[in-house]
């Protein structure tokens, strides 16, 4: 039963592994290149996700709900929005890494508006990424993009909350409540 579930969960991964293994074996070039890409993304993921989940787990057991609710909850206003944007800018990694953080923030009482502002700010305002952007595309490009983006992210947060309602909660990634 358990192995059956594992097989189902990893079906596509196994298929992909067979494709890659076969490609390497017979020297099929597209397969080899895809494997090269995969390695790069895999190490990107493997280097930060386990640590992030460790932090999320510790955050879950240590941080009281009232604290989060007070600072970035429904009644927190613009100061709450400021905090959530600041939190997002200090992070790094691809956007999918922000989903579990959004879940734990939502679970601890962050308002839907702030959760979606967090996702927006995470996608476009991370400081490590900004320094990189400035290096390649120049200060004017990066600054302009940042300044125009902030109101857009906040607007998206407001629209999402209006549409989903104040009681909306992010799920734990298994498609269930908790």
């Amino acid at each position: 039963m358990k192995t059956n579930r594992l097989f189902k969960d990893y079906f596509w991964t196994i298929l992909f592994a067979i494709f890659i293994g076969g490609s390497l074996f017979i020297g099929y070039e597209p397969g080899e290149q895809i494997y090269g890409n995969f390695q790069q993304f895999f190490w990107e993921m493997a280097s930060f996700l386990p640590l992030m989940f460790l932090l999320i787990g510790l955050f879950d057991v240590w941080v009281p709900k009232e604290k989060i609710e007070r600072h970035i909850g429904t009644e927190s206003g613009f100061i709450g929005t400021f905090w959530i944007i600041l939190l997002a800018t200090l992070q790094a990694g691809p956007l999918y890494g922000a989903f579990p953080v959004a879940y734990i923030l939502s679970k601890k009482g962050a308002s839907p508006r702030n959760v979606f502002i967090y996702l927006g700010a995470f996608s476009g305002l991370k400081i490590p990424m900004l320094t990189f952007e400035i290096g390649f595309l120049g200060l004017k490009f990066s600054l302009l993009r940042t300044l125009i983006s902030i109101p857009v992210f906040i607007a998206i947060g407001f629209i999402m909350e209006k549409y989903l309602g104040k009681d909306y909660k992010v799920m734990n990634g298994l498609g269930t409540g908790d």
Binding site: M45, I56, F99, M129, F136, F141, L144, L164, N172
Partner: protein, 156 residues
């Protein structure tokens, strides 16, 4: 990355010092969440690897460079939405686009959609936010990214 390692180890040590059982619970919760998501994560990075192979930089700049105006911007937005290219590839690539004469507005829309919209990561996003919210966030972000890019085009 270094900050994350330092922060995580500091929190772990502090947590262990205060309460072993709670630390154990926290680690277990984090680990469980990670293991539950692992199949989807692996699937997504496999998809991204294949997509990146199918659309190398030269192909992208050929597509974007040849079509100017609104069509070029729209194509840039669509590619940016589907692709999930990490910053260390995307920004150098954007610079190459600019040097090849791709209009700044097209490059801006490409960068903003790349960051804000994720079609390939939708399966994962749906698991956290539900179908409705995930589609809506991506839809709004698409419109938002387009708007940001167009506005930037006015100033660049």
């Amino acid at each position: 990355m270094l900050i994350l390692i330092v922060a995580a180890s500091l929190c772990l040590v502090l947590s262990l010092a205060v309460d072993r059982q709670k630390t154990y619970d926290g680690c277990q919760r984090g680990l469980k969440m990670f293991l539950n998501l692992l199949p989807t994560l692996l699937l997504i990075i496999a998809l991204i690897s294949i997509f990146l192979y199918l659309t190398p930089g030269e192909v992208l700049s050929a597509i974007l460079g040849a079509r100017s105006g609104f069509l070029g911007v729209t194509i840039a937005a669509l590619i940016g939405s589907i692709a999930l290219i990490p910053g260390f590839i995307a920004f150098p690539l954007a610079r190459i686009f600019l040097s090849l004469g791709v209009p700044a507005i097209t490059v801006a829309v490409f960068i903003t959609t790349l960051m804000m919209v994720g079609i390939l990561t939708l399966p994962l996003e749906i698991k956290f936010f539900g179908r409705k919210a995930a589609f809506m966030r991506n839809g709004l972000s698409f419109i938002g990214a387009f708007a940001i890019g167009l506005l930037m085009g006015l100033f660049l």
